[in-house]
Amino acid sequence: MAHFEKAKNLNEWLDQRLAINTLKRVLNTEYWIPKDINFLWAMGMVLAATFGMLVLSGIFLLMYYKPDTNLAFDSVNYTIMSEVGYGWFWRHIHGVGASIVFLIIYIHMFTGIYYGSYKKGRELIWLSGMGLFVAFSAEAFSGYMLPWGQMSYWAGMVITNLFSGGSLELNGLVEWIRGDYVPGDAFLTRFFMLHVLLLPLVIIGLIVLHFGTLRIPHVNNQEGAEIDFKEAADLWKAGKKKESKVIPFSPVFLSKDIFVMGVYFILFFYLVFYNFNFAMDPVNFDPADGLKTPAHIYPEWYFLWSYEILRPFGKDAGLIAFAIAQLALFFLPFIDRSPNVAPAHKRGLFQVWFWVLIIDMIALTAMGKLPPTDPTFAFIGLVSAWTFLALGPILFIITMFEKKIEKGA
């Protein structure tokens, strides 16, 4: 055992046992961040804060929610909203948070794509981030089931049906997932467990991994410049702050992070108090009714793009396209053959590709919600879905011919 001397203060006492001074240095004061970054790099902290809000509000909701098909709807819409003090507050935070977290995830993802932050050396950052995206998707879907409204029920029906494997008709698998022939009590309770225990644990684990993956390749920067972090850190420590290309995470970058978070929370609480309905589908305020199909079944906005990739094709082709859509982004670091880590506006054709991707995903999102019975919408949806599928091979080809950018200018 190490030798312990009488500590002069609490900090020293803790340091002897936990090495908190080393931890502080490694994680905060000497965790170097490039100076040349903008507010988009604060989205990670914004996401962490939103996840914190979701966990906190979720704990309060968990105290009153009843995972029982007879009680679930009223426990959410009556008990929590009318009888629990400030129940509405936690519920609106949870509902708004669940929706807005995806907006921030998408901004975070597209930032990574725009600046090439997934490229060589940073593949694991991207892969763990995509893992988080999938885990958040599962978390959101399982949470959407819990109020047991009309859309919960029918979305549960549609999504679990995907596991029948098209023409393979793996109905046994679907029933195994549901625990019943249709979504019922077994379905609700297992999705409840996934939502409040298993998936949050997975998410927390992935967040730790995601942070860990940043440690060695470091955060990218606006110009994609390769920085000698040791040299730059020595300059900083020598007091040459202007010359150094890096800043410590704490307190310098943290001060920016916190400002961005403050502004974000103004928007967040504006939505919580004055516009929470944007995140809540009116159809889900009708209690689940297995005998009455809603006029339109559609997922929450953040899944619409992948739903639309499934919809315009036939049974099997749709399922395959959907599977490709789910997995395609994982492979981004390996599809992009370019030697450049640089922002899209410096990469020629890649810039065009990037904006086509954004517009295509917005088009898919919009068409995913619109009724497919309209021939114009159905056509736009089909074209957008094919465009999405084609974007992968196109990226492979255009980046193969991308020339090395001369740095330094």
Binding site: L103, S255, I258, N277
Partner: protein, 328 residues
């Protein structure tokens, strides 16, 4: 400046997506089109009843005899509305109404007749006239009674045939059955006999009392089930519980639906209730109170929380500026 440009791009694409999946998609999803594919605009007439919508509906359906009947009916209503009603003379006629609308909570042919204590304040004058003239036509559910079935209030047609008498009764109702009406009373008189409202502890029989003994509670429950069965048999299905209706349907839907249920749900057996503008506002106030009870608290706390984060952001900005001062 560069950061503001980036922010503008992010905000633009976020708002574009929002517009497409919310207002635009909802408009497209709830669009009604006629046989030619033209969009039908469903308008609210501010709870004034002159039968225009019913006539247009009959026209659209291409049913000539129905069109003639509707036109004649609403012309009659307009003629009665022009008559000067004598409230004193209407008292005797109102006595006929009390035969059924007596608060005895007895189901008569499908539903319990509503309490008329505030009928003058809740319902539109034209509608009251129309209802006495022909209940099925007035409430625009005449399609339900085309064959052998008779509207439970149908007998009134044979009891009050004289236009002046109808004008007098309506004048009596407006003069004597108005008064201050609370949102809850408005709901109970206008909607309760068909729609339960469990978050307000209301069933088709009224407010559920507290019972000391379980067997009394169960006996009451059986009475409620019996009443619901009768309503179900009469309406075709049990009308939905309205606890969450304000959040489940848009304001526009609520307005146009209550004004003329056929406009949003063709063929429904939900009758036109005939609420006046004031009556509708009262009912809406009660439904909002029940299904969105946190409104007052939200409005009280919202500005404080948002104000806190504005202050927080300003302080954070100052801190950031002090930290970044020497960096460039």
């Amino acid at each position: 400046m560069r950061e503001l440009k980036i922010l503008a791009v992010v905000v633009f694409f976020s708002l574009l997506t929002y517009y497409l999946v919310e207002p635009y998609a909802h408009h497209e999803m709830h669009k009604k089109v006629d046989a030619q594919g033209n969009e039908i605009k469903i308008e609210s007439h501010d709870f004034f009843y002159d039968g225009k919508d019913d006539i247009i509906e009959a026209e659209r359906a291409g049913d000539a005899s129905k069109l003639v009947a509707k036109e004649a009916f609403w012309a009659d209503v307009a003629a009665v509305a022009k008559l000067e009603g004598n409230a004193a003379a209407g008292e005797a006629g109102f006595g006929l109404c009390m035969g059924c609308h007596n608060g005895a909570n007895m189901n008569m042919g499908g539903v319990i007749p509503p309490n008329l204590d505030h009928a003058g304040a809740l319902y539109d004058k034209n509608y009251l006239i129309a209802l006495i003239k022909d209940p099925a036509m007035a409430s625009n559910v005449d399609h339900k009674y085309a064959d052998t079935m008779m509207h439970p209030m149908g007998s009134i047609k044979s009891m009050m045939t004289d236009n002046q008498q109808i004008a007098d009764v309506v004048a009596y109702i407006i003069e004597n059955k108005s008064g201050e009406v609370s949102p809850k009373e408005a709901y109970m008189e206008a909607c309760m006999r068909c729609h339960a409202l469990r978050y307000g502890k209301l069933t088709q029989l009224g407010e559920t009392p507290a019972f000391k003994q379980e067997k009394e509670a169960l006996a009451y429950k059986i009475k409620v089930i019996d009443e619901q069965d009768a309503v179900k048999a009469y309406m075709g299905k049990l009308p939905p519980d309205l606890s969450m209706i304000i959040r489940a349907r848009s304001e526009h839907f609520m307005e146009t639906f209550i004004e003329n249920p056929q406009s949003q749900l063709a063929g429904t057996s939900m009758p036109r209730v005939g609420l006046s503008h004031e009556g509708f506002e009262k009912v809406k106030a009660y439904l909002t109170e029940v299904c969105d009870p946190s409104k007052a608290q939200r409005e009280a706390i919202g500005p404080i929380v948002i104000g806190f984060f504005i202050l927080f952001s300003l302080l954070a900005l100052l801190w950031k500026k002090s930290q970044w001062r020497d960096l460039h």
